[in-house]
Amino acid sequence: MSKRREKKSIEELSKENEQLRADLEELRRQRAAWLGKHKAVPKREDVTFDSLSGRELQPLYTPIDNGVYDPEYLEKLSLPGEYPFTRGPYTTMYRTRLWTMRQFSGFGTAEETNERYKYLLEHGQTGLSVAFDFPTLMGYDSDDPRSEGEVGVCGVAISSLADMERLFEGIPLGDVSVSMTINGPAMMLYCFLLATAEKQGVDLKEFRGTIQNDILKEYMAQHAWIFPPEPALKIIADIFEWSSKHAPKFNTISISGYHIREAGSTAVQELAFTLKNGFTYVEKGIERGLDVDEFAPRLSFFWDVHNDFFEEVAKFRAARRIWARHMKEIYGAKNPESWRLRTHAQTAGVSLMAQQPENNIARVAYQAMAAVLGGTQSLHTNALDETLALPTEKSVRIALRTQQILAYETGVAHTIDPLAGSYYVEWLTDQMEADAERIFEEIDELGGVVRGIEEGYFQGQIAHSAERFQQEVESDQRIIVAVNEFTGGNDDVSIDLLKIGREIQEKQGKRLAELRATRDSERVEAALDRLTRAAQEDENLMGPMLDAARAYATLGEIRHALEKVYGRFREPIFF
């Protein structure tokens, strides 16, 4: 019985307005009465009823809080796949394709990790994500004295193209997309990967994958850097420029909140710092003379997903809206692909507890659900034992199964953005957007992101939030199960842990010695000299570096060739 819309007189319209106002007044009156009754009932005293980030929360949210009568729905939420993408980056979301189940993994030598990858792919994983060891993350070869004791321990050791070839032996890089968590030496590892793909016969024009390549958050939180900010940002702009021509489907950066959050920030700080880093990269690309629509579609994001369920969902939604608005209105992007924020997510490592580690399965499951309700494009679920060691095959399988249960059993992927219109979630989404905008202004007043890093603004904010959280836990204001409450059963700590042997370092050392003896050393020298000259002349480094990689120059040698020109980053210590 649908009525046709009639033309209305001004009198009729103002009458309707009056009616709307009257309805709202009625709701206000009833809510006030409700609140009176609510206040009269005793409340629990063992919790604070605020959000994880310390936001004061009302017991009830209604249209008064988030303005459902507001005709701004289309402007603020719109439809999935439509600007400003609050309800999701794609039109059909999980109805067309589930998120990519991408477990971050790597340890020991390339062969061992290769085996683990094949195991994961056999068990239904749909993408790969490489964890490197600390020497690789810092740009040191496995046989460098500074690598002593760390080779293959926290991830896989990759010192040259030869190691990368072994890592993907028998894994078709044209079919399985690879994401690499690498930042300081991102360009080196990217070149090793490109050269491996070439050898497998992959057309680079069609090559898909991701490098994290987000150096700003390294200075803020994760701390695996090599060069000072200015040359590091130049290298990133080089990657944007080269890839837009030669590997246009590759995600050249994954702007990451994950490490900022793990280092201690709140959800809002994670949101704001990360997006501001993203805008900084966009500005660098534009400064280079690139058209924003040439490189912005290849920018992707990476969020942490922590315990506070609704705050996490709101964070994902707010991020998409903020990014879209800034890209369109401030940076003048015209291609909708440049407005669309796509993201990976990982459950919060810091939320895992050593006490009764099996409980971590439950934490991970809730976090994973929040990421999916927030509309993530890919997801890593942590294994229950990761607070004690690298995960075993069994614990990794449980983590993957957790995603599969979520995807196939719970039904949460059936509808798009099912929490939209929730008074609470929409209110939180708006609040987080407003808070983030306020933090952007604060950073601008400081003189921008690089200045903020040099002055320790981000490091200080993150450390302060970490301290506050720890104090809240230790004063029992926040309950962590089996840590400060419900500790019965804590003595039972019999779980199997994965051990990494010292022989990895020897094996890698021998391998590098062999490589150095058998490769064409003149070709290596020439390629490295050419690379140093390119840095001196401020040319794009991608071409010369790819040649050095193809010649089997090692990671450490390439780093050294550039360090001669750029020097090293020295951490300003704020404590």
């Binding site: 500074r146 690598s147 701390h223 793990e262 280092a263 201690g264 006490q355 060691a389 970490a466 951490e571």
Partner: protein, 138 residues
């Protein structure tokens, strides 16, 4: 009876960049009235021992989450001994399996703390060690 402040060097050896724990613990030790020096990241064992000598500390507390603890703790311990700093307590924390903690303790490293430890436990441990160590001296 003016009590002297306990001097603690909080160090991050190796290539490990995880400094959340080190900073939280350093702040807690300082709040508990200790004099705290934080080395910053990516320090070699030599750099840490040099800093310990220069700052004349009572305690060296290392934070290691990279799995390199069986290399780095023994090396710092050895250098401390070489420099005649036997009176210094070497302690710390991180992702360290219980059996490794035991092995390191046998070598002469102090108590090590794993994930989920409260900062109060670390503070108490250092205070008690210091009182015991200096009980006869006053």
């Amino acid at each position: 009876m003016a009590e002297r402040k306990i001097r603690v060097l909080v160090g991050k050896p190796g290539l490990d960049g995880h400094d959340r724990g080190a900073k939280v613990v350093a702040a807690a030790l300082r709040d508990a009235g200790m004099e705290v020096i934080y080395t910053g990241l990516h320090q070699t064992p030599e750099q840490i021992v040099q800093a310990a000598i220069q700052e004349d500390v009572d305690v060296v507390a290392l934070s290691i989450l990279s799995g390199a603890h069986m290399t780095l703790f023994p090396r710092v311990l050895e250098k401390l001994r070489e420099e005649g700093m036997d009176h210094v307590l070497l302690t710390g924390g991180g992702i360290i399996p219980a059996e490794d903690m035991e092995k390191l303790r046998e070598m002469g490293v102090g108590k090590l703390f794993g994930p989920g430890t409260t900062t109060a436990e670390a503070v108490n441990y250092i205070q008690e060690w210091f009182e015991k160590e200096h009980a006869g001296a006053d």
